[in-house]
């Protein structure tokens, strides 16, 4: 009797958490910015940790709690790495946009390198360079 009550309680909790995971996935797909997606992924990690903890009592397997602990650490690490990566991507894009001088400089260097390589390859290009 009491075992059945525990069974239905844990089963209902797991079903509810599954529904919440689906809603969070929808938010992570719809989210307009990158930080909305990271928030949704962080929330999915939290819900999955609860799900694993409930599953460990539902199946009466104690090693699943260790899985839960490790999952918490990896989830935290993934959020930190995602934030670092997207901060770096944003800064790189902004610097590329801001520093037009450096872009022109790079293009000039590339043109010079191409001319030098072509001059080494073909003798006619050397004459052109001499004319210049």
């Amino acid at each position: 009797m009491i075992g059945q009550a525990y069974h239905y309680l844990l089963l209902g909790a797991m079903i509810l958490l599954g529904v919440l995971i689906i809603v969070s996935i929808i938010r992570s797909v719809l989210g307009p910015g990158i930080s909305d997606r990271v928030i949704a992924v962080n929330m999915i990690g939290t819900i999955i940790i609860m799900l694993i903890a409930i599953l460990s009592l539902y199946r009466n397997e104690s090693y699943l709690v260790d899985v839960c602990l490790i999952y918490a650490m990896i989830s935290f690490l993934s959020v930190v790495v995602l934030c670092k990566v997207y901060t770096g991507v944003y800064l790189q894009r902004k610097n590329m946009k801001a520093n037009l001088e450096a872009v022109e400089d790079n293009l000039q260097h590339q043109e010079e390198e191409v001319i030098v390589v072509e001059a080494e390859g073909q003798p006619e290009q050397k004459e052109e360079e001499a004319v210049r």
Partner: protein
């Protein structure tokens, strides 16, 4: 028998309270419009949700090694969740250019304008460009200025 039922009721109450907080967190994250508000909603699920769910499972399990591990999960989450929330908020504040004016920054700017107005009347605007004032327009100006210099060369 009644002791078992009391324990079941306590565990069920704590578990359902935790699930209620998690539902609120997911609802808030879907309902709010800005990312910083969403962090506010999601942090509630990270702290209170996992606290009450783990407490319910600990009551259900009794004194054992599993309860200690669940307690460690709570401890780790309460240490890690503010850090991750702070990093997400910093990412949002750095990348979102039309974030709007945050109240603290506006207060500092008003204070600074007041100080500048008392020191030099009329020169408050261009005295100190801070992070709140240098929006996308300012950055665009500096970028095009560099571009102009390159073109003049």
């Amino acid at each position: 028998m009644t002791g078992g039922w009391i324990r079941f009721l306590a565990a069920a109450g704590l578990l359902l309270l935790g699930l209620f907080f998690e539902v609120l967190a997911v609802f808030g994250a879907n309902r709010f419009k800005k990312a910083l508000n969403r962090i506010h909603a999601a942090a509630m699920g990270d702290t209170l949700g996992i606290l009450f769910v783990s407490l319910g499972l600990m009551v259900m399990r009794g004194f054992s090694m599993d309860s200690l591990k669940l307690f460690l999960v709570i401890l780790f989450f309460w240490l890690a969740s503010p850090v991750s929330g702070h990093m997400i908020a910093r990412l949002e504040a750095m990348t979102n250019q039309n974030l709007g004016e945050i109240a603290v920054i506006r207060m500092e700017k008003e204070d600074r304008e007041k100080a500048a107005g008392s020191g030099r009347p009329g020169g408050g605007d261009e005295s100190l460009p801070d992070a709140a004032e240098t929006g996308p327009e300012e950055k665009g100006k500096s970028g095009s200025g560099k571009g102009r210099k390159g073109a003049e060369k």
